[in-house]
Amino acid sequence: MKYLPLVWSGLWRKPGRTILIFLQVSVAFALFGVLQGLKTGVAHAVAAARADLLIVHSRLSSIAQPLPYGLLEQIRSVPGVQVAIPVELAGGTWQKPDQGIGIVAVSPEGDWTRAFTYTIPPEYLAAFGKSRTAMLVRDLAAQKYGWKVGDHIPLNLAVAQQNGSNDWAFDVVGIFTDSDVGGGRYIVLVSYPYFDEARALKKGTVNHFNIAVSDPKLGNQVADAIDARFANSSHETKTESLREMAQASMQAIGDFDFLIRAVVGAVLVALLFATTTMMVQSVHERTPELAVVKTLGFTDRAVFLLILAEAMLLFVAGAACGLALATLVLPFAARFVLGLSMPGIVVLLGIALGILVAFISAALPAALAARLPVATALAGHRAA
């Protein structure tokens, strides 16, 4: 500890150079933090997805094949099913073809919100149940299109009404938020009974059923029981939890592992080279000073440690600064991947990596300094 002032003055011998190295280390570790945080954050988001909410869709094709509404009573009778709500999906646009909006039609009956990941304030919830053309808007969609409670919104849907028109209109009665990582961003909730009655085709069908199970541990068991009930019928089902679905949709990120590793590798190679050169240069310039230090009785080992400590201090400070920066930046990346945060493990990993890089890049210059022959160095010859 008593050598700390020595290390400190060594660092500030050339402030410009030290600050530039510090910035370079910060930038490299900010990038490391964002990339690694993205990867680890996605894994965390999947783990946080609800395992107690199940989705029942058609075994034929989970996207395109409808299920009859009539399955609802049979699903509700399966032990462990607490709430089951039919859900129909449709796509639409608002004003312009590139302003897409997802329509989620649900039956607002009983305790229906339990089967969803949505958070809806009670007054909005009450208003939604009262009117047939009521619409709840996800916060992100409300922000994007500037919709407010009380607005009457005309939408162009891919679903025709009975009079053949694709123009629909709904009244905004509230705003809601969604905690699910895989949920649509720009979505609205409308009433299924009204939607189904008003549309021309596919009446009496739904895209899937949302189910809340009474005990999260029973999730898999209930899913299997539902699928078993409809096995060999004309409407075979496939039931999955939100967590399983999140796993499937986030797999794509797994393909980025290679890319992330390659980028981090390139960053570290460039950083190592730059800092090693700088440290060697620094030791060269300080040859006379180091010789004096040795003359005063510092051993080769102590000089080695002195140079190493300088690098450690600089790198750990730089890495910490960079990771702090990454923590600030990561919420912006959450625009693309919902539910991201900087996991503590990434910070630990980053600091450990900082120490490793410091050791590798300081080893050569520190060894040069340690092996400095005192007499020739004092005489003005530089370290080889």
């Binding site: 930038v27 996207i63 395109a64």
Partner: protein, 387 residues
């Protein structure tokens, strides 16, 4: 004129000195190489995805789908389809029939060969023979499906990436066992496409509407005629767009995401490389203080001294740029990647190489500014006296 002569003399001097300072020069070159290499390889994903989606687009092809709908949400009921066949503007084939292909698209699941992961791909039921509408499509093995039988043909990427697409394999789709009877290739697309007869597929799925239609038009004038005919017919709820436009729209979001990621990572790495360059150039300037002071004393101006340092920085960045582009090309050109469950080949285009070089020039320029300024400020008398 005097400025140019001094500048060139100084530049020649500093460049001949590079070999005496290999560490500093290499720091700049390696930093720039890494930054440019990463930027170009990441941009190659966006350009590869775009190239794949736009492969085989024909300028005389137009796509008809229901108003405002995208992808599988579109639907064209049979009665509307009959009207579409007779619309003016659509080119007639040799047999006098209009060149229109209706498609019924059903997304189905498959398992990755290597990872056993689930992916979705389109099963496309088409009217007419598979080669009618797509001249790039070549049957390489087996035969074409027979209408009325539950038979499929699959493209090569399906066989390569997924299980269950060998000839003779059966797949259960819509509660019916379908047999794979043929394989086809489609240019160098990495997209898994499975084709079947539209009527057979729609019968299995109890579907009474096609998803979309592709038609051939003779000229731009015919396109307007067709568009007008579609819009003025009150019984139709359809819209027509050029095939290129629909494909571009489909890839826009993915492209924006990939390009954002590329420029985000590329910029951060460029900042790192620039900082490294500044540091190296500072030490180059410092080690040449006496030399610079001597030159100033014998009459060289400060402007040519600064310009020569700036130019040296840019000259050092250039080999880094070329190396970076070369590395990206050698390592990743035509490598197959599949982020988001959608496979395509990376494509390092000349345009990306130019972007990489410009990027490197910017790094060299910004990295050289401060050291160049310092070089112009070397105090002649004190620097000459220093040991």
């Amino acid at each position: 004129m005097n400025f140019m002569r001094q500048f060139l003399a100084l530049l020649r001097m500093s460049l001949s000195g590079i070999l005496r300072r290999p560490g500093s020069a290499l720091t700049i070159i390696i930093g720039v190489t890494c930054a440019v290499g990463v930027l170009v390889s990441m941009l190659a994903m966006g350009s590869g995805a775009r190239r794949q989606v736009l492969a085989g687009v024909r300028e005389d092809h137009v796509v008809v789908n229901s108003h405002g709908a995208r992808g599988i949400q579109s639907s064209i009921p049979r009665d509307e389809a009959d009207t579409v066949r007779d619309l003016p503007g659509i080119k007639k084939g040799k047999d006098g029939k209009p060149l229109v292909e209706f498609q019924s698209v059903v997304p189905i699941e498959a398992r990755r060969r290597v990872t056993d992961r689930r992916v979705f791909f389109p099963l496309v039921g088409i009217t007419g023979a598979p080669t009618d509408n797509d001249p790039d499509l070549h049957l390489t093995e087996g035969r074409v499906y027979r209408p009325g039988l539950d038979e499929l043909i699959a493209s090569h990427p399906c066989v390569r990436q997924f299980t269950g697409f060998e000839i003779g394999d059966k797949r259960s789709i819509g509660g019916v066992d379908w047999t794979i009877v043929g394989h086809f290739s489609q240019g160098d697309s990495q997209l898994c496409v499975v084709l079947a007869d539209a009527e057979t597929l729609m019968a299995v799925f109890h579907n009474n509407a096609y998803t979309q239609a592709t038609a051939t038009v003779q000229s731009a004038a015919d396109y307007s005629v067709l568009q007008h005919a579609l819009e003025s017919n009150p019984t139709l709820h359809l819209e027509v767009r050029h095939e290129r436009e629909t494909r571009e729209e489909g890839i826009r979001q993915l492209n924006a995401l990939l390009n954002f990621a590329a420029y985000f990572v590329g910029s951060i790495m460029a900042i790192g490389a620039t900082l490294g360059a500044v540091n190296s150039l500072y030490s180059i300037v410092d080690s040449r203080r006496r030399e610079i002071a001597t030159l100033r004393a014998i009459g060289f101006g400060s402007a040519p001294v600064g310009a020569a340092i700036l130019c040296e920085s840019i000259v050092l960045a250039l080999p880094g740029a070329l190396l970076g582009v070369l590395l990206a090309w050698a390592l990743f050109q035509r490598m197959s990647v599949s982020p988001f469950g959608f496979s395509f080949l990376l494509d390092v285009t000349p345009r990306l190489a130019v972007i990489g070089v410009l990027w490197a020039l910017a790094m060299g320029l910004f990295g050289g500014l401060l050291p160049a300024w310092r070089a112009t400020r070397v105090p002649v008398t004190t620097a000459l006296r220093a040991t």
